[in-house]
Symmetry: C2
Subunit: 417 residues, 2 copies
């Protein structure tokens, strides 16, 4: 069975659908990384009876109960009181926590509202976690061999405490004897149905292996999760499955785990010592934004021209008006010239040109919404590809920027010169 | 009390933290729009006993139970079986559903795997919802005056069924007598602590009013939610609170409800018949991406130069090397010239220039990470502002693009010429 955890999130804003609850996912992902499986996520309203009974139920069913939310300084924040009641423990004023809260306000040049000292109350036997971002402390509360963890609902505060304090504590306290390891394989350029078809038997694996396939507009991720007591066995199983998948999907796989396509491309550009410039039309800056989202991109990325209007295509990229008139701004000819001319103007090794129709207006029968030409120009080679992307404006922009990066990746992997 | 709902999401991928569960939020937000409050979100593993007991518990506690996930064609998809068991109802083969599934595959030129016909099984008394995107049908199941709704876990499939079938059905079935209405007020340019201070008493309102404040790196949203039987009363209360907030926060408020800052700016540019060009450095294309994310932006947006390197600032924006050398690329002088020169080059009414240090490298004591200069140039006016943003690379990019749009908004609201 192994160690099990429940995550309880408290807040009317979750019940009204006002916020997306990312805390539960964060907690479960990180618990899995130390071999602890979550068996339940529960979100409830700011109601004392519900909170008290939920804490009690979860402490019966699981070894670890993570609570988030309701630790703020206002009267609506009733989690602390409810913890006290459900455990039948007194709340004691903690000097260390109080001093930390006072410092929090002083450092920011603010006057501490009296209310905030409520946050210095700590259930008997609890270990407080000082908050380096906000004012509410977290709590680690041992309860008859189990652990109740209470954390603030603000995601960045919860994340920090979870990584820095909660995980190391739980690891030490429970010595989870199982390893849960996941490997993510990232695929682009192939529709989900094709990936499904090619991996059909692999996706059906079960037992200590769990397979998942998650489609996104611009990429598909396949996740292998293996649970076992033996670390070497876990690694060997993952390696074997990964190898099989690689053999079948080949260079449709662009990366692994948290790596983004722009990071992969950035690594390749750095390795091959190539510089890049970009001319965008329908993607409107998204491609440049993704490229410059990678730290260190200034080493290979020189500049981009976002030539949205025809006039700017002519003026800044020197694309002859006759060519635009003859073939249209959305054409292979124009995209290729965009790629070539930005490369020459910016004096980079590679130029990318994108021209298309992102919609929702501007489509015609001959040139429908989603039609996008992407060109890559290097000294000895120019290629241009035609795509027809489905979806709304933002999805078409995302898919087009992805296809451009993928074109570049493939060329960089082959012997681009 | 009113009608209450529970949302149960089924899937090991949620428990492992592999996916963010957006279905629960979507369901609650939309239920609230027709006056139904959610009192619980529960996510559980693909385990028959857990699923069966969760369905039974929720049907005891709530009037409406929404299930998502586990309706696929594979052996792992056990939700249908569990529904049958928990309600003690037989699953009957439904011809209409079967035909629809066959058509789904035929339309896509695919051979239907035999497994998929499992999806044509429907619990006795259930009303199937045909799926226009995937193959799994949804189900509306009346249970002793209550309703169990089962929907596929794939978000886009669930969203469509929810809007098209589930909401109209529930509205007709339950005639919710309460109205839950929310109004979102969007604020930028003011830190959260200041907003809190200015709205302290308003944020404490309770009773049939629920107030929420949600900080994001680049903006703060304040949500007013009012629940009452009387529509006019609800609207009057919201109007009154909104007016109070407007009086206190004035032009720090940039928009309402779902409107983004780039949409507000786009509306203003269109109304004032002004055209725009942009020169970005540290934001790397994000500002242009946001501007062109708005449908119809080609009417006012002409072009952008993403001049990442100093050479490109000189070459494309004609910024003298001496000025770059004297003041540095990150300076008010350079940002102002970027704004002015892109405006002149692109022949637009307004030019924006941004230069800064997004990090994580490149900061110095004199020019730290997060230092950003933003300039706006118009025929009769040039302004330049200095900012110091905190956060990681992506957060600094987001904050800088927001500050640029906000500068533009404020100028467009005054008498920019």
């Amino acid at each position: 069975m192994g160690i099990s955890a429940h995550v309880i999130c408290i807040g009317n804003e979750i019940m009204l659908g006002h916020i997306n609850n990312t805390n539960a996912q964060y907690a479960s992902k990180n618990l899995a990384s130390i071999g602890i499986r979550t068996s339940e996520h529960l979100s409830i309203q700011d109601d004392p009876d519900t909170i008290i009974s939920s804490i009690r139920n979860s402490l019966r069913a699981a070894d670890i109960v993570i609570l988030s939310g309701g630790l703020g300084p206002t009267v609506d924040d009733i989690t602390l009181d409810c913890i006290g009641k459900s455990l039948e423990r007194k709340l004691l004023y903690n000097n260390k926590v109080a001093e930390h809260i006072k410092k929090h306000f002083k450092k920011r040049g603010l006057v501490m509202p009296r209310n905030n000292l409520r946050q210095a109350l700590v259930p008997k036997g609890a270990i407080p976690i000082l908050n380096n971002i906000g004012s509410a402390p977290g709590l680690l509360i041992p309860v008859h061999g189990k652990i109740l963890v209470a954390l603030p609902g603000v995601p960045f505060e919860l994340y920090e405490m979870f990584k820095k304090n909660v995980l190391p504590y739980l690891k030490k306290r429970f010595h989870p004897d199982k390893i849960i390891k996941s490997r993510v394989i990232k695929i682009t350029g192939l529709p989900e149905s094709k990936v499904n078809e090619k991996l059909e038997d692999i996706l059906k694996l079960s037992g200590n292996v769990e397979m998942g396939i998650y489609p996104h507009p611009e990429e598909i991720t396949v996740k292998i999760t293996v649970t076992d007591k033996n670390k070497n066995k876990v690694n060997a199983i993952i390696k074997k499955i990964e190898k099989k998948i690689r053999l079948r999907l080949k260079d449709y796989i662009f990366g692994y785990d948290d790596e983004s396509l722009e990071e992969v491309v950035g690594r390749l550009l750095t390795k091959k010592k190539k510089t890049l410039s970009v001319a965008e039309s329908c993607t409107g800056g998204l491609l440049s934004d993704r490229i410059t989202g990678v730290s260190g991109s200034s080493n290979y990325f020189q500049m981009a021209a976002i030539t949205y209007s025809n006039a700017s295509k002519n003026k800044f990229l020197a694309i002859p008006v006759e060519i635009i008139n003859k073939h249209g701004a959305v054409s292979g000819q124009v995209a290729s010239l965009m790629a070539k001319n930005i490369r020459l103007l910016a004096k980079t090794d590679i130029g990318i040109g994108i021209s298309g129709i992102a919609g929702p207006r501007g489509g015609t029968k001959k040139k429908p919404i989603g039609l996008v030409y992407i060109s890559m120009s290097a000294k000895k080679k120019t290629i241009c590809r035609k795509f027809l992307f489905l979806g709304q404006r933002d999805i078409i922009k995302r898919k087009a920027s992805q296809a451009a990066l993928n074109l570049l990746r493939k060329e960089l992997c082959s012997a681009l010169s």
